[in-house]
């Protein structure tokens, strides 16, 4: 469960003045639900998700993740969260197995438990062929699978995906999308950010449209269609953010 309440992040910037990257964003995600955060470049998606994962501290508002407040109990929040982003890379000189085991230990798991879980994840993600190879020799797809296994080793209740299909080919991207569905089936709370409309349509139970740090519209796809009188999500998105930039 995630409950964001007026979450705000302002970056000080000497030249441009304060940047309101996230501006009083409130939303709620239940377990077994996929919440899609839809926004253009620089809309504030990554910053919002980093706030939820306690990588950044909010300058205003707060959020409760799996019952823990991100401001007061960040370590407990992180123990409940699996965070996957383009900016979370792998240690190139470790093998996939070592990488997964490292994060298992950081999450306080015993080695025997880590071995069992690694085997199970490798089955599910079809990783056995490269499990003992060093990560710097991997293709993008192998890296992404290893990263997913890394985020799942402690079986978190909340999964946060920041543009997880960025730069992947169609087949690998489909595998990721299938995998996010799998998370939902296991009653995990999922937040999924992207600017790809088709992924949102396929995947998300509810959608939040974020622009300039503000959450401009929120609802299920049918609700949004009804509100904006458009069928196409892209049209809805453009209407929501205030028209074409011309």
């Amino acid at each position: 469960m995630i409950d964001a309440r007026a979450l705000t992040k302002t970056f000080p910037d000497k030249k441009r003045g304060p940047i309101h990257a996230v501006d009083r964003v409130s939303f709620h995600v239940n377990s077994g639900e996929i919440y899609g955060l839809l926004g253009a470049n620089g809309a504030g998606k990554t910053t919002t998700l980093r706030l939820l994962a306690t990588l950044l501290r909010p300058t205003g508002g707060t959020a409760v993740v799996s019952g823990f407040d991100i401001g007061t109990e960040p370590e407990k929040v992180r123990a409940q969260v699996g965070f996957l982003a383009a900016s979370t890379a792998l240690y190139g000189r470790l093998t996939a197995r070592e990488m997964i085991a490292y994060f298992g230990r950081l999450n306080g798991l015993e080695d025997a438990e880590i071995a069992v879980r690694t085997g199970r994840l490798a089955d599910e993600l079809d990783m056995h062929a490269f499990l003992d190879r060093r990560c710097d020799t991997f293709s993008t797809g192998m890296k992404q699978k290893t990263s997913i296994a890394r985020t799942l080793i402690h079986d978190p209740a909340v999964m946060i995906f920041d543009e997880p299909t960025l730069g992947l080919d169609v087949m690998t991207a489909r595998a990721i999308v299938r995998f996010v569905h799998e998370c939902k089936a296991r009653r995990k709370t999922v937040v999924y950010s992207t600017h790809v409309m088709s992924e949102v349509e396929k995947l998300c139970d509810r959608i939040g449209i974020i622009h300039g740090g503000k959450l401009l519209a929120e609802g299920t796809l049918p609700e949004l269609r009804a509100r904006y009188g458009e069928q196409d999500l892209e049209e809805i998105f453009v209407r929501a953010v205030g028209g074409d930039p011309l």
Partner: protein, 404 residues
């Protein structure tokens, strides 16, 4: 603080670093090759140059002295130098190193000797040039001998005892125990090496584990884990410290070994040729332990400072541009500590790095000023603690870790 988390981070960093070929190269192989090369190379070159200079019989010219043929004849008979025919621009010959020196015998020199008057013999040479210096010294020795004999003859002539001109003799004798001599000769250079090796040993991993991780994008991955930031910092920091101490110890061992071998090879010959011995003179063994104990807080200080400074960088290259200039800040006090005549006092005992350099010199020569040792150890521990606290603080600052 959670020691199991610190250990997990530490072991992972250790494994990671040992798999990095660049580490192995810069921290283990290079010091292990460079130090022996330095010891052997410098040793043999110094010995060669010196003994060659010694072996050469210098050519000299005589200026004037035509009215003192006996003196000139004696000069020509000397085996210590070879008199060559005088040319007009003898100065040029000296600066061109065709001859090593020229001696100017004043007019009426021999007559003056007989008559009991005085005169000045001028020796022209190339100041700062080793071989010319040797030639000048030989000429001086020649005229000193002549002067002695003249004095003796004059005294005998007046029936005076030989002791008239030499009422007493002075003589220097070394009263320091042998290990103190060793400590002082090498005491300056060993701390210098230790300080530099410690710094360079910490440098690479400190930059790699901070700026390098940011650059490769693994820092954010690591921060996603529920481990408290302070444990991540301490795990990484311990790795940097290990590397600083390990690389220093390795280099010192290879250095000692190669100096010992080099000393055995060239020490004997060197002594005959007048070179000071190259092998390590005896050092107070307790001094070595003392030095190692004193180096520990300095290693912590270096590791924490380089770690924190590199934390601000976004890439390994950027970190290098910050840490490189710091090397000067470290070398300066280490060099000052090598200078003779600078002794410990309370104020210098508070200056980091310099105080280590000075106290190590003393300890290696078996001198233990406990009050200074306490001040230095205490103050360096304090600086190291502050630097480590700074590292933890900066690691918790998101504008440092997530610099846009």
């Amino acid at each position: 603080m959670n020691f199991s988390h610190i250990r997990t981070v530490y072991l992972k960093e250790l494994k990671d670093l040992l798999r990095d070929k660049r580490t192995i190269r810069s921290m283990i192989i290079i010091p292990m090759l460079v130090m022996p090369a330095l010891a052997f190379g410098v040793g043999s070159i110094a010995k060669n140059v010196y003994s060659k200079a010694r072996a050469e019989i210098p050519s000299v010219m005589i200026l004037g002295g035509e009215d003192s043929p006996a003196v000139l004849a004696e000069l020509r008979r000397s085996k210590k130098f070879r008199v060559v025919p005088t040319v007009a621009d003898w100065k040029h010959s000296i600066s061109e190193k065709k001859i090593r020196a020229a001696v100017q015998v004043p007019e009426g020199f021999a007559a003056g000797l007989a008559a009991g008057t005085t005169g000045t013999v001028v020796i022209h040479y190339y100041e700062g040039e080793l071989k010319s210096g040797f030639a000048a010294a030989e000429l001086e020795a020649f005229f000193r001998g002549l002067r002695e004999r003249t004095v003796q003859a004059r005294l005998a002539e007046h029936n005076l005892p030989a002791t008239l001109m030499r009422p007493f003799e002075t003589k220097r004798e070394n009263a320091a125990p042998p290990d103190r001599v060793g400590g002082n000769a090498l005491g300056g250079i060993i701390p210098y090496f230790i300080i530099i090796l410690c710094f360079t040993g910490a440098m690479y991993p400190a930059m790699d584990l901070t700026a390098g991780e940011k650059e490769r994008g693994t820092m954010e991955t690591l921060l996603c884990s529920p481990v408290a930031r302070v444990n991540i910092v301490l795990g990484k920091f311990c790795m940097v410290l290990t590397s600083a101490l390990a690389s220093m110890t390795l280099s010192l061992l290879t250095m000692t070994a190669s100096f010992a071998i080099g000393g055995a090879l060239w020490g004997g010959g060197g002594k005959e040729a007048g070179v000071s011995r190259l092998n390590l003179p005896p050092i107070d063994p307790a001094g070595i332990l003392g030095v190692l104990a004193m180096v520990l807080p300095v290693a912590v200080l270096f590791s924490a400072v380089i770690f924190t400074v590199s934390l601000f960088a976004k890439s390994f290259k950027e970190a290098q541009s910050y840490v490189g200039p710091m090397m000067v800040v470290v070398i300066m006090p280490a060099v000052v500590g090598m200078l003779p005549g600078i002794d410990l006092n309370v104020r210098l005992a508070l200056v980091p790095i310099l105080n280590l350099s000075l106290v190590c010199r003393e300890m290696l020569s078996g001198v233990w000023h406990w009050q200074y040792i306490a001040i230095i150890f205490g103050s360096t521990c304090l600086y190291a603690g502050l630097a480590l606290a700074w590292a933890v603080k900066m690691f918790n600052r998101e504008d440092v870790i997530f610099r846009a």
